[in-house]
């Protein structure tokens, strides 16, 4: 994926092109990867000489159950239930860097020329400067970041509520998904209910300072109700839609909802 599919004022075309890209690239690539990584039923497989678990049938069944689990999590999700917050003294220092690439590959984004693109099912598709985002009411919270790998770390993020931002751009709040395209070529999407959760921040700050590059400058979507890989960094484009429910890790097999 590159950023070229993300255009303003042509939501339909973007969706169509995204669909084409999905057809062309990912099923093939991710499928091969999935099979290459192989699902070995460990010792049993070795003993019996047969592998029940790398068949396309098992893969398809597991994917279907994962989609079913998305629906269960959407049903379990309570918009008014807040993630626990912690005192500043409990912030994990140094807060771990985590991405699908090495820390030396962190993208450099120029603050002065940066413009956030908003497209899809929104009334106002103008671009936003960082100063304009800082002019929205700002909130800060100390919450636990839980990684899909199991570790967790407590951090302090600040910025406007994402719900406030979506209302400011006149987003269709009945749309199903909000998608994100990032400067590091990461992409993901979330459900609208989580997007509107009061603790979901369009984080511009980490620990009272502008987000350092390694934590996602210029902005990161911070959701204490979702696992780490659902929290995109270096966001360039925000896209409201009813169809785009993909993600960098999700396309490889991670659960899409990824709720906590």
């Amino acid at each position: 994926m590159n950023t070229s599919i993300w255009h303003r004022d042509n939501a339909e075309a973007v969706v169509a092109e995204a669909r084409n890209l999905i057809k062309k690239q990912l099923p093939q690539a991710s499928r091969r990867q999935f099979l290459a990584r192989g699902l070995t039923l460990g010792g049993l497989g070795l003993l019996s000489g047969c592998r029940i678990d790398d068949s396309p049938t098992a893969e398809a069944a597991l994917t279907r159950i994962s989609h079913f689990n998305d629906r269960v999590q959407g049903w379990l999700f309570d918009s008014s239930r807040l993630a626990p917050t912690y005192p500043d003294s409990m912030i994990t220092r140094p807060f771990p860097f985590n991405a699908f690439y090495d820390e030396s590959k962190v993208p450099e984004v120029d603050a002065s020329s940066f413009l956030l693109e908003v497209t899809g099912l929104v009334a106002n598709k103008r671009r936003w400067t960082l100063d304009e985002l800082r002019a929205l009411p700002q909130y800060a919270q100390v919450t636990r970041h839980i990684c899909v790998e199991g570790w967790s770390a407590i951090g302090k993020w600040g910025g406007p509520r994402f719900g406030d931002f979506l209302r400011a751009v006149g987003a269709d709040l009945s749309a199903r998904y909000v998608g994100f395209q990032c400067a590091d070529d990461y992409y993901t999407s979330i459900d609208m209910a989580t997007a509107l959760h009061p603790q979901t921040l369009l984080a511009l700050d980490w620990d009272g300072q502008p987000l350092p590059p390694k934590y996602g400058f210029p902005m990161k979507l911070r959701m204490p109700t979702k696992l780490g890989y659902k929290n995109p960094k270096h966001i360039q484009t925000i896209f409201v839609s009813n169809t785009f429910n993909r993600g960098y890790w999700e396309d490889q097999g991670y659960n899409w909802f990824g709720g906590s």
Binding site: R37, D53, R81, A83, V148, P224, S260
Partner: protein, 230 residues
């Protein structure tokens, strides 16, 4: 010599079985119990092996499990197995508990159990005087072990819920001592059930007829025997 003696005891006890109401004595292990037992065995195998792979992604302690004995191939695959296996594990477990309560089997087979009784039967077992002739009767060490396994599996589900949904289950999270503590509890409960399975399998090797009972519902291959009419 040992098997001969067990066989003799078995024969001696058979008449008493025929005196019980036919429905209750029809099968040492009723069909629903055998089904839930083996589904549970498959579910626990899936959960433990995929769980080891998930653990390896971020070990709590200073070791990892060899990837060859894990399930899933990579973290994403292991998570898919784990969160698919959980449905089989939980739904089957609920069916097991419900059927135990409805049929009254739980009270009949698992109770009474007391520390004194456990010690007595443990001593009898260690001195090779504990009878395994009647597979329909659990000794108190057995009862304690099975009750422990059931409680351990319930705790595995509860701690797993906190790890999966720490925000959505706040009460459970606080009871478990927070997210990180829930991970440790989940790990220790896994260790406990693996130890249980090891001892369980050893006991099956020592009393192989119990495997037949769990497969066929009776302790013999012949279906024409009086006590196994079903």
């Amino acid at each position: 010599m040992r098997t001969l003696r067990l066989g003799a005891l078995n024969n001696a006890l058979m008449p008493s079985l025929t005196h019980q109401p036919p429905k209750r004595s029809a099968s040492l292990q009723p069909l629903w119990l055998r089904i839930t037992h083996w589904l549970n065995a498959v579910a626990v195998l899936i959960m433990v092996m995929s769980g080891w792979r998930i653990y390896n992604a971020s070990p709590i302690f200073d070791f990892t499990f060899p990837n060859g004995i894990t399930l899933g191939g990579w973290l994403g695959g292991a998570l898919q197995w784990h969160f698919a296996g959980m449905w089989l594990f939980v739904l089957n477990g609920l069916a097991y508990l419900l059927l135990n309560l409805i049929t009254g089997r739980f009270g009949r087979r698992m109770l009474p159990v007391s520390p004194r009784g456990i010690l007595r039967d443990a001593w009898l077992a260690l001195t090779a005087r504990l009878s395994h002739a009647d597979l329909g009767h659990y000794n108190q060490v057995q009862r304690a072990a099975y009750l422990f396994a059931v409680a351990d599996l319930i705790l595995l589900v509860l701690s797993g819920l906190v790890i999966w949904k720490s925000v959505q289950f706040p009460l459970l999270r606080e009871l478990m001592g927070g997210y990180d503590m829930a991970r440790r509890i989940h790990f220790f409960c896994m260790t406990a059930i693996v130890c249980f399975v090891a001892v369980h399998l050893l006991m099956v090797v020592l009393v192989p007829r119990s495997l037949l009972a769990m497969l066929l519902g009776r302790a013999t291959f012949r279906s024409s025997d009086k006590e196994s009419s079903s």
